[in-house]
Each structure stands twice: as C-alpha cells, then as structure tokens.
Symmetry: C2
Subunit: 215 residues, 2 copies
C-alpha cells in the first residue's frame, strides 16, 4: 500500500499544557501532523495568509482576545476549505448555535479523551462531523424546535396554493392569472384563509404561514 497523504493540523488553544499534549499525540499518529500551535486567533490569522493553510484546525472557543466564534468566521472567510473543530467547555445553546453558523465542522467537549479527539480528526477526513453526544442532543433539540410542529388550520389544497403565491408577494390579480381564475375567486380564497388562520391582513397571514411552516 502506498503511504497515505499526511493531513496537517493546527491547534489554537490558550492552555499550553493541553495544546502540547494534543500536538504530541497528533504527531505520533501516522496520518496526521501538527505543525503549528497558536495561543490566540490573531496569531493564527497572521500565519494562515503567509503559510499554506492546514487541513484541520482544532480551536478553543474561550480564547483571550478574539474568541473562537469570531475566529472561525475570519478563518473560513480566508480559507473556506479548512475544517474547524471546536473544542469547548461551553455547552450552552448560544455558543453551539453561533459556532455552527460560523461554519464549524465538529463540536467536542474538552472533557473528551485525547484518543477520542484523534478519532474525531480521522472521522472528519472521511466526511464526518464529530459531535459530542450531549451537544448533538442540543443541536437536535434546536433543530426540532425551529422547525416545530406545523398546526393544521384545515386549509384546502386550493387555499394552500393561494397562500403559497401570497408568500411570493404576488397580487390578487397575479395569483388569479396564475391559477386561471378571476380575481374575485382569489379574493374569496383570501378571506377564507384569513378566517382559518385567524388573521385579518395579508402580512399577518404570511408571517403566520412562515413562522408555523405551513406549506
């Protein structure tokens, strides 16, 4: 078998002891190489433009100076291909949420064993997203919540169709033309929709439809 391509890893972590042992372990792994350890995002950002960027970055969220969330945004803006794994002691929804939106590919708790962190690095190289189960639970909960249960207001299929076009911003006349009916018909549908959704304006109907995911 030919030797595998060696993947490069950077660590951004202010605890020198933790960063050091992590780097050591990575370098003792055949397919991985940790060439750089930074103790702040600012340092890493300087290097990432000058040197060739790594494949993976392990980053702490609670860093002095620029925090990890802001750091990941900047790094991803410069090098979108880099995979960033967040290492954190925080498990609050806000941080998880922000990190994911900023483009994190993984989210591990600092209590993770060094071995499991190595596993995560390998997992990310094959298209996975290593996520601590407790954190995954929160992500699932957030996901289920933001796309929460759509209440059924008993809209007929035709009414849903009208509502759909309403959300696209079409006027009564435009909807009428699309559905090959008269504008009076659309008017009636609209009023029935208003009644069923218990609203009294176009905007209210649309906001309700969007927020409660009525399609």
């Amino acid at each position: 078998m030919g030797k595998q391509h060696i993947r490069t890893v950077w660590i951004i972590e202010d605890s020198r002891g933790f960063a050091g042992s992590l780097a050591e372990l990575i370098n003792s792994t055949e397919s991985l190489s940790c060439q750089q350890v930074f103790h702040s995002c600012e340092d890493a950002l300087v290097c990432i433009e000058r040197d060739s960027p790594p494949d993976i970055i392990l980053m702490d969220i609670g860093l002095p100076g620029m925090n990890g969330i802001e750091g990941i945004k900047r790094i991803k803006a410069l090098v979108p291909a880099v995979q960033v794994i967040m290492l954190t002691v925080f498990e609050d929804n806000e941080n998880i949420f922000l990190a994911i939106r900023a483009g994190a590919s993984g989210y591990l708790h600092k209590s993770a064993t060094l071995d499991s962190i190595i596993d995560s690095l390998e997992s990310i190289l094959v298209g996975g997203a290593p996520v601590n189960p407790n954190i995954a639970r929160k992500i699932l909960a957030m996901f289920a919540q933001t796309h929460e249960t759509k209440t059924d207001y008993g809209l007929s299929s035709r009414e849903k169709e009208v509502l759909q076009h309403l959300m696209e911003g079409l006027s009564k006349k435009q909807i009428a033309d699309k559905l090959f009916v008269s504008h009076n018909t659309i008017d009636t549908h609209l009023r029935n929709i208003y009644t069923k959704l218990q609203v009294n304006s176009r905007v209210n109907a649309v906001t309700k439809a969007l927020k409660e995911n009525i399609l």
Copy 2:
C-alpha cells in the same frame, strides 16, 4: 455499588437476522434488556398501549407498511418520554430532517457495528444523542443553511423599527401612531426599506426579513 436500574429496549426492524443479533447483544449487556422485537410499527403500536413502554426504541426507517417516520410520530404522541434511535440506510436530507422533527433522539447508519450501537444506547441514557458522524455533518449543514448568514442591507435603526412593526402586521397609520410620527414618514421609511431590500411590496419585505433573519 447498588445494581443499576435496567433499561428496557424495543427493536422495530424488519430484517429478522439483524434484529435478532442486536437483541442478543443487548441482552448480554448488563444494564440493558431487550424484551420485544417487532417487524412493523403497527405491531409495536398495539403493544405500546397495552404493555408498559420501553425506555428506548431502536427503529428502522425503511419498514414495510407504516414507515419509521410516521411510526416515531405516533409513538412519541402516545409516550413522549420514550427515546427513539433511528437505524437507517438512508442518508438523504429529507429523511434525516423528518426524523428529527418527528422527535428522534439519535440517528445511526445500519453499517454501524453492533458494539457501537450498544455504546449509543448507553450514551442516550446519559443525555446524549448518538449520531453517525456523516449524518451529523448533514445536520450541521442543514442547520447552518436554515439559519444562514444574515446579510446586512444597511437598514437604519429607525427603518428596522418600522420593519419590525411591519412584520407584526400593523398598518402604516398604526405604525405612525406607535412611533409618534405622521403616516407620511412611515411611507418614506417603507419606500427606503423596499429599496434597500430590493423588494416592491410589503409582503416581500416581510418574507425577506423573516427568511433572512433581519431583526
């Protein structure tokens, strides 16, 4: 040490061989007990009302008859406390999405080793959500997408305020009264908002604001 409380597991899986070896392994695990194996959701739903429900259900998505997505909805409706882990060969976004929204607490691929499934069962009991890394990747991507980067359209603070009230469904006059200005002023603000958001109607402005999370 006192003996740990034994957690009960049900399996809903049409492949009898797979279900059997899984059940065997679960029963050979000290803290777990698999008492029931079903080959369809319908069967399980009958039992869940009659017998005492389990702590965890391992469920296939691709079942004959009622599929797993519908199954999880019904089960959660009857027994919200039960934790459901999806076992699937599907990795498409639609199924993942639906399962999460239906209340799944975990999402594993069928290629997972039996041992790792046991690990997952234990993980779920301590508040985790075992998710296959590849699937986790898709979830993260979906999450990042649905809550995508809010573009800044350069709205002034006053305009944001007007937009906010717009989303509440207030009329120009009503907004004017709330902000102690004339309706003409609101009119101007609206037109400026339309220009900045590149829309030409109330509804379009509101949908854009909601979808892109402008607050």
